[in-house]
Symmetry: C2
Subunit: 624 residues, 2 copies
């Protein structure tokens, strides 16, 4: 095996320790669907029992949505050189509407395949790509509109329900949400999934050439999802680093991963990532197309771009960011901006439009692009190339002009049954965020919104995961279906593993806060379980139920390392004397001792209180 392959295996080895180690007290469980090969994974977190005077109360396990794929399942032998098992293979073949090609049909794909110089970099077990039979449309939206419930849809219904039926009364307790008109049902059925996809309100990014994928859905009436970015640049990073970043991203909860590579060997890097990824992979094809013309935007052509789309579609990319909304007349609208055009793809296309003085080939060939998308079931992520890059430029004419165009393009895509989501800002102060959501719903006909942040201030480089988590949580609440994470390195550099972890956990917080605010059924159960553990001083359960158990444990141990402290009925914040939780037990006993309902207790208290007033009234209001 070559040195580089050795290197590429390397992440798997370290992964065994870091990226792949099961979480504490956690076990991978599968819920069986209607067919033998439909098994939906969950992470089952076991809890200790509660010991109060004499009695021991069992605390039920908590089941959480699991994006980590087979990696955290000790029963599965991981081999990055082989890639993941193709769990959707049978589903795709049974549909009988695809054919296996002899090999890549893109010029570039063929060239890379036959370049001996790349042998040492190439993934060893590349499948011949599949494509829709002539005239066929293999998109999940196409099936949905024909009334077909695919295994992918059933899989998603089971996954989104998160075993809610297993919740106890206490865990199921939840505040009614404010969903701003979203239509979230109590139970997600396969038929509901189909209907949402048919209406275009949700997408299932699932390229037929990515059978390793564990199906997931992006839509306003489902759990809010998060995307993580990775990718090498001309300046740094390598294949094995990117594969490791992908493993790391899904471990911490990334629902999708975008490969934004702009450096060397993009094609090979992508192959390694997709073959080993259980989550949808998105790309921005214009980045690679630009590499093919040595970075000279004006030399881009439809033919080069088209070949790139096919190249990537046949590798299994699940969604493409396409900046087709940048129209020539919108470009001058950005001239007076403080920060101009900050979207990379947007600025590339703007440059092209100016150089050629015409509408971009993305716009003029949009229907040609749709033809490619539906032949592989690649979803659109219509890019917001004119998103604001500063608070100053938020919600301006250029931004909303493009948004309208994205709505028009959405309807063209839907005419082809091509799944579509819409990308959103950017930098927006809190009070201007909702307008973004409202206009997106209006102009884009409820196609899923996929936003970057938004960052609510520009003044904290180094902390932009936080400036943006504030905006992300809010826009998620208002209806955004997927949040693109921002790491602490935003504006400053490429994220390392720690930055990726910080960015993901921060965005899991934003997404979950949004689910709670929307009143997503069952969303509060994990909060209830963790808070009960906290109240009962089940420290270990508190750590295990948290988004980042390792960090919680590590922080706790900095002040109270002793094992005993983890069972102690106090913590380092208050010490033994001051424990408020402990004192609260007295309150319970007090109420219990009188066998009072809350209301009775209130009345009873009121009497005592009024007696007090008689006795001490003079005290309370005495003049001085």
């Amino acid at each position: 095996m070559s040195a580089v392959l050795q290197e590429i295996v390397h992440p798997a080895v370290t992964a065994k320790k870091a990226s792949i180690a099961p979480f504490p007290a956690s076990e991978k469980v599968y819920v069986q669907g209607s067919r033998a090969d439909l098994r939906v994974p969950f992470r089952k977190i076991s809890q200790e029992s509660t010991h109060t005077t004499g009695t021991a109360e069992q605390n039920p396990p908590v089941y959480v949505y699991d994006t980590s794929g087979p990696y955290t399942d000790p029963a599965v032998e991981i081999d990055l050189l082989q890639g993941l098992p193709a769990l959707r293979d049978a589903w795709i073949q049974e549909r009988g509407d695809t054919e296996q090609l002899a090999g890549p049909s893109s010029d570039y794909g063929q060239a890379r395949q036959h370049d001996p110089a790349l042998a040492h970099l190439r993934f060893e077990h590349i499948r011949a790509p599949r494509r829709a039979k002539a005239g066929a449309n293999v998109s999940q939206m196409h099936y949905a509109r024909k009334g077909i419930i695919t295994p992918e849809m059933e899989y998603i219904a089971i996954r989104e329900n998160q075993r809610m039926e297993s919740l106890t009364e206490l865990y199921a307790r939840q505040h009614p949400g404010q969903s701003y008109g979203a239509g979230i049902p109590k139970i997600i059925t396969p038929e509901f999934v189909r209907d949402e996809v048919a209406k275009g309100r949700a997408i299932i990014p699932a390229n037929i050439n990515h059978p390793e994928l564990e199906p997931m859905i992006i839509g306003r009436n489902f759990l809010v999802k998060i995307n993580c970015n990775l990718g090498n640049s001309a300046l740094s990073s390598s294949i094995e680093e990117e594969v490791e970043k992908m493993l790391w991203s899904i471990r911490w909860g990334g629902d999708t991963v975008m490969d934004l590579s702009t450096g060397k060997n993009i094609h090979e890097t992508r192959e390694w990532i997709i073959r080993n990824s259980p989550v949808p992979i998105g790309t921005v094809p214009i980045y690679q197309a630009l590499e093919k013309v040595d970075g000279k935007a004006e030399e881009l052509t439809w033919e080069i771009f088209r070949d790139t789309l096919i190249e990537q579609a046949e590798q299994g990319v699940d969604y493409f960011t396409i900046h087709a909304g940048i129209r020539l007349p919108f470009i001058p609208l950005t001239a007076k901006r403080l920060t101009g055009i900050v979207s990379r793809g947007g600025s590339i296309m703007a440059k092209w439009c100016l150089a050629h003085h015409k509408e971009s080939f993305l716009y003029t060939h949009f229907e040609d692009i749709c033809e490619i998308m539906k032949a592989y079931d690649v979803s659109f992520s219509l890019g917001d190339g004119l998103r604001p890059g500063s608070i100053h430029d938020a919600n301006d004419e250029a931004q909303f002009a493009e948004l309208k165009t994205l709505g028009e393009l959405t309807q063209i895509a839907w005419k082809h049954d091509v799944q579509t989501m819409i990308e959103g800002p950017g930098h927006v102060p809190m009070h201007m965020i909702k307008e973004n959501m409202d206009l997106q719903l209006e102009h884009c006909h409820e196609a899923p919104f996929y936003t970057l942040g938004p960052l609510t201030t520009d003044i904290a480089p180094g902390y932009d995961h936080i400036t943006s988590a504030i905006g992300a949580a809010m826009i998620g609440w208002y209806g955004t279906a997927m949040l693109c994470y921002v790491t602490p390195k935003e504006h400053l550099g490429l994220p390392n593993k720690q930055d990726v972890r910080d960015g993901i956990v921060t965005y899991k917080i934003a997404a979950h806060a949004a689910d709670l605010a929307k009143g997503h059924p069952g969303a509060q159960s994990r909060d209830n379980a963790l808070s009960k553990a906290r109240f009962e001083f089940r420290w270990q359960d508190q750590f295990n139920l948290s988004l980042d158990p390792e960090k919680a444990l590590e922080f706790h141990d900095e002040t109270l390392p002793k094992e005993s402290a983890k069972v102690a009925h106090f913590c380092s914040m208050c010490g033994p004397h001051f424990c408020s939780m402990k004192i609260t037990q007295d309150v319970r006993d007090y109420a219990a001792s009188k066998g009072l309902s809350d209301q009775e207790a209130l009345n009873e208290g009121m009497e005592e209180m009024s007696e007090e007033f008689v006795k001490q009234g003079a005290e309370v209001y005495r003049k001085v």
Copy 2:
């Protein structure tokens, strides 16, 4: 000098390096008020010029609100053993309504002063305390209501305006805000400050025994402030650590500091902190009172508590958290909660109420407390002892019953011209946050709201600075005047210096995001300046203008350490080819070359576009 004093000096020494070092490109400047001894500090951040083809544009300096006191002024000789100069001394004496006592009038204060065993711990230059002359009221609210504009009020007016008059057109540009009924004027005048304090809508925490204080204001119509907590506990920390934490807190932007010590030598620790603090110091006196009865809540008495109030008031504590809103009838309402009573002070008083079966002495002696407050100008921070400790318990009957009582107590305090703010939650999902603000405004008659977070989910211990920054930014936008910071160690342990820094910067972000959303005049200027620097690749200016310049620089250098990179017109995210900012310049040149206004450019573009439609229309909508 004793070993301990040596230790205590030690922070000053390290401080010289860390806590006290001026920020890069920053200089402390003072704006002269109407009297020689009224000089308001700002941090002046200088910028490089912008070099574009041939021309060099000067970029004006940015003036920012500075909480760090004399410490970041290299011209000032820092000596923690001496304490800070008493800049308000003359102002207080001129009012002629106070007298200097022979010594502490509290039993405890006297005992500590005469205990030889404490000599090695004691601050060496303790002033004899001041107190209002018999019958006098020395609160800023009392002066305000008599129509007197104090030097403190003038100082605050200058400080809050942040030298707005110096803003250029570009920096002054700002989105109109949504202030939910706040009444923020374009210019803050001393008279406006007086009027807000007179109405009770803002407070100036400024104990006459804390003359070292640089006056600041807490109110909905002023900049949103943040509080940082420090304090030793029975389990850890020491005097010098606490002093160093205070220096560290104000360096990063803490507007006030609460000393929540519950361990040894609370009295001496507090003296060291106050004598060296330019920001208001708050405490929760019941913590120390409890220490005096060995942690047995039921043994607390009004006499012990009263003596503690006087002890602390004479040291110069600027505001007291008093949990007088916990009434006997409310306690049973918490019995059915998931996490009961989580406020330490709240649980102490609840325990007392249950043990004695009567209303607490805080409630029955509330007017006696007012008498003490107005004799030293200590402000009330009415504690929310029944705040929810989990999402499950948010906005419940117990919480809002207490809030109503806090409103009644506010009116009693105002009857005595005692300044008052109200503490708020806690754990609240996003969609239930606004109700907290609305009810607080209604029940508490627009007294300033001072909230902890709120945390918007319970599932991320280790990241609760983030779960709470989301809620803090939102409630700050809705009208909260001061945000109590939460560190990553919340629920897990006592924060170290890094946690304090993370917590403060996170809360500066939340407070600033709120100022932007409210449309606070001038709030956007720092965002505009930083974004302009970013767009122009003035990397150093971008770092210098950020909330944490050191972190921004450090992150940047991780990927592009070379000095050259700091002037390079690209960054590690995109590399030389892909720079969107660079491409944007072409757009400008394009628009400029035609000397177009935005609208003309639009029209002109529209023409081109329509030509395109004619030429390529068939392309755009061609059937396949």
